[in-house]
């Protein structure tokens, strides 16, 4: 063979180049997607069932959503009767995302794995989620206190009302209560003060009919909250976690 050295060297380079993506990714399989159904509404359900069976939804939800879209927009038919005879309002935003309020951990989990980017959410409003991908059902309530005091301000009851109403309706959903203080004063006394403020809010929640099991007293990592001193003297009440009690 003429020029065998060049040809063999060329072949080796060619094979290396072609197999490079396989070699470089060897043993680094991406984790299998694990869509989570840990949301407040699903945790509430006695029998965790979607509109159709899990297997059907997994394989066909995209086709089904297309059919729903055409049915609602083009024909004005908004009720879907599933194979078990139950009726559902055909709505991505109001039916699907009402239960699956964790888009990041549910929808995106598989869509990212499959490298598909459906444009549903460029128009349909997705549920609010925090940095950890947990559903934020309600904006957290902030209750501000006077300097050195831990007795509740008069507006506490009205500030907490939406959260109290939600917790009463969803007895399986937990709530985080965190107390903060400003930068001034003795740190040891301040830690005690932050705790007392959180306790005052807890007692109020319980007086309003929220069960003790739902309340999670969460000590913040940094007691002196960011911002001005007035902003810092507060208790935060948030239903940010999808976890049940």
């Amino acid at each position: 063979m003429y020029d065998s050295g060049k040809i063999i060297a060329g072949l080796i380079v060619f094979v290396l180049l072609v197999t490079f993506p396989f070699i470089s990714n060897m043993g680094k399989a991406s984790a299998k997607p694990k869509p989570s159904i840990d949301t407040p509404v699903i945790n509430q359900m006695a029998v965790k069932k979607c509109v159709e069976s899990k297997e059907f939804m997994r394989a066909e939800h995209m086709q089904m959503l297309n059919n729903w879209r055409d049915s609602v927009v083009r024909n004005g038919d908004r009720i879907y009767v599933n194979t078990a005879g139950q009726s559902f309002n055909m709505s991505l935003q109001n039916t699907c995302m009402n239960c699956h309020s964790n888009k990041k951990k549910f929808c995106d989990e598989c869509h990212n794995y499959m490298a598909v980017t459906p444009y549903c959410w460029s128009c349909h409003i997705q549920p609010k989620e925090n940095a950890e991908g947990k559903t934020v059902l309600l904006a957290p309530a902030k209750i501000y206190f006077e300097v050195g005091r831990f007795d509740l301000p008069p507006d506490a009851s009205s500030l907490l009302k939406p959260i109290v109403d939600f917790l009463r309706a969803h007895s399986q959903t937990g709530v985080d209560v965190s107390g903060y203080v400003d930068k001034t004063g003795d740190p040891i006394k301040n830690a005690e003060l932050a705790k007392n403020r959180a306790k005052a809010v807890r007692d109020m929640l319980m007086a309003e009919g929220v069960s003790e099991a739902q309340i999670n007293m969460k000590k913040p990592e940094i007691l002196t909250g960011a911002g001005s001193d007035v902003e810092a003297r507060r208790v935060e009440v948030s239903i940010a976690s999808g976890k049940g009690v």
Binding site: E52, F56, E60, Q63, M64, N67, R69, S71, V73, R74, N75, G76, D77, R78, I79, Y80, V81, N82, T83, N89, M90, Q93, N94, Y119, S122, C123, H124, I125
Partner: protein, 281 residues
């Protein structure tokens, strides 16, 4: 191999039958339990042969009467508010479902009349999609994104709209707005066009590059509710079936003098304006 006419016809016949049968089996397999029979309209849905509106100008007195209807509609449908943009951009990029204008611009083809009632001339008229019986926008839409529903509503399917704006050129009433900007975006000062506090989480927004307009609140009709503007207008906007002689809209049209916008164009608009006269009429 030779074949006679009889054998040829036999083979053709058998293969045709097999082909039709095969296609049926294949279609049966494809159908994955999502037949049209499984969907139905909401039993609460308000139905009509042809929805229409009557706007009673006598009942629109203050600026507030107009604004509450506009706010109700625009908040429910997450219509972006571009009013914080510089004037010359706002005029071109504005998105509106319901708005107001003066007599001359509302009825530009009405004959000129120098002695016309000054009050009427200066009055603000409510304008929104006419849901025409012969809509020009529907005829020109290349994707059938805008179409006429069986109940007469001219509907806009945002999933199909490609943003060509033929419909905007075709509509003689200026009822359509193009999303030049991302409706979820912010102005120069960081103020979002859709106020997060007022955002209706049950209704989608639109995206940049689609055309939007009044949909006669089809999502509310499906729940048995009147369109938002009619509901908050205290009777200034009446909604009903134009094909039903006993409907409230038909009774008003029969009893009072009403006009429509540009009827000579033949699109058969479905908004009737009672232009007043009040107790003198």
């Amino acid at each position: 191999m030779s074949i006679n006419r009889r054998q040829f016809l036999k083979i053709v016949g058998v293969s045709t039958a097999a082909g039709i049968g095969g296609a049926a089996v294949f279609n049966g397999l494809r159908n994955s339990g999502l037949e049209a029979a499984q969907t139905s309209p909401d039993p609460r849905t308000l139905t009509a042969k042809r929805w229409g509106f009557v706007v009673d100008m006598d009942k629109l007195k203050s600026e507030e009467d107009y604004q509450k209807c506009i706010d109700a509609c625009h908040n429910i449908h997450n219509v972006p508010d571009l009013s914080s943009l510089p004037e010359e951009i706002r005029i071109r990029h504005e998105v509106k479902w319901i708005w107001t204008d003066n007599f001359e611009r509302t009825f530009p083809t009405a004959p000129e009349d120098e002695y016309q009632n000054v009050e009427l001339k200066e009055k603000r008229f409510f304008l929104f999609c006419n849901h025409c019986a012969q809509p020009a926008c529907v005829r020109v839409c290349p994707t059938k994104a805008t179409f006429k529903r069986k109940d007469g509503v001219v509907m806009q399917d945002m999933h199909r709209c490609i943003g060509c704006r033929f419909c905007m050129a075709a509509c003689p009433f200026g009822a359509r707005s193009f999303n030049w900007r991302d409706p979820r975006g912010k102005d120069g000062n960081g103020k979002p066009f859709i106020d997060p506090a007022k955002e209706n989480k049950e209704y989608p927004t639109r995206m940049i590059g689609v055309v939007e307009k009044c949909t006669a609140c089809t999502e509310r009709l499906a729940k048995g509710m009147q369109p938002a503007c009619a509901e908050v207008s205290n009777g200034a906007i009446v909604f009903g079936d134009l094909e039903d002689p006993n409907s409230e809209v038909r009774k008003i049209i029969a009893a009072k003098y009403t006009i429509r916008r540009k009827p000579e164009l033949g699109t058969q608009p479905s908004i009737y304006y009672v232009i007043g006269g009040g107790e003198h009429a």
